[in-house]
């Protein structure tokens, strides 16, 4: 067993864990943050995407011990002071979600992408999010949601 301390959304979570414990299971079961989902186990679907020190990673393909001492952001950390982030707002306004299962991973990938590229084209959005799968929406409204968020972020920066 290994002792790990991982900071998630600003709070430290410490536990004795097996070295083989996947990060996503640490998040869901040790930290009790169930917004991060498991969809495929093969790094294909991206439902488990979280931000690790700001970078999007698929938390089903990383061990909890590898994240020891790191800072994570999960979907529970997106809204600030009860206010939805621009990406969350975009998904709501543009009907970018249906069953909601892929949504947390989709939004975290979008957040990291828009930080790097605040002024994206549609093609860049599609490329950036092509590691996340959605079965309900056909992606049309997800692209619209990301565009909405980009606009919203530009407005608030002005």
């Amino acid at each position: 067993m290994e002792k790990v301390t991982i900071n998630i959304n600003g709070a430290d979570y410490s536990a004795e864990v097996e070295p083989r414990l996947l990060l996503v299971h640490f998040i869901r079961e040790n930290a009790n943050l169930t917004g991060t989902h498991v969809g495929c186990d093969t790094t294909s679907c991206g439902a488990c995407t979280i931000l690790l020190d700001g970078k999007p990673v698929k938390s089903c393909t990383m061990f909890a011990v590898q994240a020891n001492g790191k800072h994570l952001t999960t979907v529970e950390g997106l809204a600030q002071n009860g206010k939805l982030s621009p990406v969350q707002e975009g998904f709501h306004e543009k009907h970018g979600l249906q069953c909601g299962f892929c949504t947390p991973g989709m939004m975290l990938t979008s957040v990291a992408f828009l930080k790097k590229n605040p002024n994206p084209t549609e093609g860049e959005i599609r490329w950036a999010i092509s590691g996340n799968l959605c079965r309900c929406t056909g992606y049309v409204n997800i692209v619209e949601a990301v565009k909405y968020a980009a606009e919203k972020m530009k407005e608030s920066n002005q």
Binding site: V38, T103, W127, S130
Partner: protein, 763 residues
């Protein structure tokens, strides 16, 4: 106060609030004190004898509490379970495995990881048998019969047919033009991003079972569990099925999988809650498939292209057990809609269900029962005929469409179509996409040796099952239900027998009640999925929820309005006849200032109701639709194909859908966009593939390719058909034919259009 929006408004979804914050409550999020984990040992062979199972090492694995095999279930008569189609299915095999990845044993342990360790430690000794994989060969004389348990010594499960075979044969013999074509719709998988699972919680003191479960039909499950376990002492009033938030269903969460039964048995065995969550490979390899129809189609026509007869023969691969989810009287679902949008009176269709050594299934994947199969069959045949006649496929369709004045139209195979404007839909699609110019461009490109395809699909669906005289599941009529309670402060709780899986029921149903009662959507809470609280219903699949439970909401609302009128008359000291209703209030005719709002009436229903009247303001309705509804549409796809690489680029896709009365245009558009992508997938990339030994080669998302952002088609224009084309609900009339058709529109129409485009590109 917020305003009641009602129909036709793009009301933002109520359910989004929790999903956007990671506060959804999906099956894997449910944790109970002392909960154990269940994992499953699966067969590496498609067909094999089990010589022995050794549990010893597994039981010695740290954390493992128990191992369950088929033999362990025999004393409880639980090694088999009934299916919805009057067949039975193994929960665990006692001595023979029937398909690759079939459940062979269950391991129960204190953690997910310990259970997986236990699975790895179970030793099973198999003697491989030759698998039967080809359903057509399975029907040949002398083919090995795989279902040893049945008295019938054949792999044919059933034969179903409809229509006038002799008349069709005569017509095919005498017609000026005939075409014949084999069409295979591959085995595919719904692959919802959330897999299946459950938490079974048995209370030995109370003899009570709570089953949290990824199910699209919680009440039906409760009744099935009661019927299957009655001999063990479970009774329906002590079974509570809770279907929490569902991460996509698409028909894949209708069937009962062995894992659910095993978790329940394990909870009874251990006295603790037991969780089972399948992984993606288990989901793709063992859960219910869709399609897998081997179709042979024939059409007869006149020289100028008037279709005179249709014949369809299907061999349906059902896998090792018939565990499809069709209404009882329809083993081949509603395949008899295969006459499509066309006017001819001689038709015959037959389907043979066949056992093979593959997983069971045959679910209604993002469509009504086998309707996608029927649509693709007729649309493909019409294109084959157009090719033979060297006629524009749009022109051939136009020549054969049922005309608007022919409705209600009795189809050759017995359905009464309610309404349609097929030519109108096709014209609209052609106009949006610029059909004539595209044909010219195609001609020019072909002259240069370039490949460009234009594919058309003009479909008629059959949804909203269904009228109780024809439709039942295990004898339970296919009504659906709504229960509406208005609280004293005018706020509402409404509960339904259906179960949303992303369709947005919480919003759509609130809009129906808002439309009928004038109460703002934000004051209406919608609940589904808990059998202890929701009225009995048959669940959500086959595009049925809004036409059945949505209609029930409208009618329950009208019952509430009837009582409200009496209360308003009492409060206003007026005669009931002198009152008029305007969204949200009753007023005295000619004196609009003398009015009582629905909220004031609700308060009075608990504080100041007339003497002799029951207190309260609530109603329940179990809605039995008089007919199905028959939505239609026209899809056109344009693609370029690279002659060197075969790469397909979809340039544009136009979908015109008859949506009936549109309740929420935002949700309708979202459903269409999702259906288009799902329809594109089997045309271009998705298929479950087996090797010669029956081993599934597409058991992960690395092999079973889902469309992603990059592969998704571009440049889609969604044009909605006119509401006026729908003969369904007249909102202010008490006509009870709720015709909101557009929840989870069929996925395969795009397949036909894309497939046709590919074909057109090649030839």
């Amino acid at each position: 106060m917020a305003e009641a929006m009602g129909f036709g408004h793009a009301v933002k979804r109520k359910e989004d609030a929790r999903f956007l914050r990671g506060r959804g409550n999906y099956i894997e999020d449910i944790k109970l004190p002392g909960m154990l984990w269940l994992d499953i040992v699966r067969s590496p062979f498609a067909h094999a004898k089990i010589k022995s199972i050794n549990k010893e090492k597994a039981l010695a694995t740290p954390g493992v509490a128990a191992v369950i095999t088929g033999a362990d279930l025999v004393p409880y008569k639980l090694e088999w379970m009934p299916t919805l189609m009057s067949d039975k299915q193994m929960v665990l095999p006692v001595d023979t495995v029937m398909y690759y990845a079939q459940e062979v044993a269950a391991v129960i342990a204190t953690s997910r990881y310990a259970a997986a360790d236990g699975v790895a430690a179970v030793e099973v000794d198999y003697e491989p048998l030759t698998p039967v994989l080809d359903p057509i060969k399975a029907l040949e004389p002398g083919a090995p019969v795989i279902r040893f348990d049945r008295p019938e010594k054949t792999n044919r499960i059933w034969h179903w047919e409809v229509g006038d075979k002799a008349a069709v044969e005569r017509e095919l013999k005498n017609a000026a033009v005939t075409v014949a074509q084999d069409i295979y719709i591959p085995r595919i998988h719904v692959a919802s991003i959330e897999t299946c699972g459950c938490v079974a919680d048995w209370d030995p003191v109370e003899g009570h079972l709570t089953l949290y479960m990824t199910t699209q039909a919680p009440h039906a499950i409760r009744t099935v569990v009661a019927l299957v376990t009655g001999h063990l002492g479970l009774a329906e009033h002590k079974i509570r099925v809770i279907s929490p938030d569902i991460g996509g269903g698409f028909g894949g969460k209708v069937p009962v999988y062995p894992g659910y039964v095993l978790a329940t048995a394990a909870s009874v065995l251990t006295g603790k809650p037991v969780k089972w969550i399948e992984d993606r490979s288990e989901n793709l390899q063992a859960d219910s498939f869709a399609r897998d129809y081997h179709i042979h189609g024939e059409l007869a026509a006149t020289k100028d292209g008037k279709i005179t007869a249709m014949k369809m023969g299907v061999v349906a691969d059902h896998g090792a057990f018939d565990a499809a989810a069709n209404p009882s009287k329809f083993p081949a679902g509603l395949f008899s809609i295969a006459t499509g949008s066309y006017d001819f009176q001689k038709a015959f269709a037959q389907v043979d269900g066949v056992y093979t050594n593959k997983p069971p299934g045959g679910i209604a994947y993002r469509c009504s029962f086998r309707v996608t199969e029927a649509v693709h069959a007729i649309e493909r045949m019409v294109d084959v005929l157009a090719h033979k006649l060297n006629m524009d496929p749009a022109e051939l369709r136009a020549k054969n469409f049922i005309r608007p004045e022919q409705f209600p139209y009795k189809s050759a195979l017995g359905w009464e179509y309610d309404s349609g404007n097929y030519q109108g839909a096709l014209d609209k699609a052609k106009q949006i996409i610029g059909y004539d110019a595209l044909r010219q461009e195609q001609k020019a490109k072909r002259a240069r040796g370039e490949l460009m395809g234009i594919g058309i699909s003009t479909f008629t669906e059959i949804v909203g099952a269904g009228p109780s005289h024809t439709f039942d599941i295990l004898g339970i009529k296919m009504f659906d239900s709504a229960e509406i309670r208005i609280h004293p402060t005018g706020k509402v709780i409404a509960r339904f027998g259906t179960k949303s899986q992303g369709q947005g029921h919480e919003t759509t149903y609130a809009q129906i009640i808002a439309e009928e009662l004038g109460i703002p959507e934000e004051d209406i809470a919608v609940e589904e999925g808990d059998t202890d609280t929701a009225p009995y219903g048959l669940g959500t699949y086959a595009s049925r929820s809004t036409p059945t439970a949505g209609a029930a909401a409208a009618i329950a609302s009208r019952k509430i309005r009837d009582k409200s009128r009496k209360i308003a008359a009492h409060l206003l000291e007026a005669r009931e006849d002198d009152l008029a209703w305007e969204k949200g209030k009753f007023f005295v005719k000619g004196a609009p200032d003398r009015a009582k709002t629905i909220q004031e009436i609700a308060f009075a229903a608990y504080t100041n109701h007339p003497l002799g009247m029951e207190a309260g303001l609530e109603a329940v309705d179990y809605y039995d639709p008089p007919n199905l509804t028959f939505p239609f549409g026209a899809y056109i796809c344009v693609m370029d194909i690279d002659r060197g690489t075969g790469q397909v680029k979809i340039r544009r896709f136009v979908a015109v859908d008859d949506c009936g009365t549109i309740i929420n245009p935002m949700i309708v558009d979202g459903q269409i966009a999702g259906g288009l992508t799902m329809g594109m997938a089997p045309a271009l990339m998705e298929e479950i593939v087996y090797d010669d030994n029956g081993v599934n080669l597409t058991g992960s998302f690395s092999d079973y390719l889902l469309p992603d952002f990059e592969r998704e088609r571009r440049g889609v224009v969604v044009g909605r058909a006119d509401n006026g084309w729908c003969a369904g609900i007249q909102r202010e009339k008490t006509d009870e034919r709720m015709c909101a058709r557009a929840i989870r529109l069929s996925a395969l129409h795009p397949l036909s259009a894309i497939y046709h485009a590919q074909r057109c590109g090649r030839f």
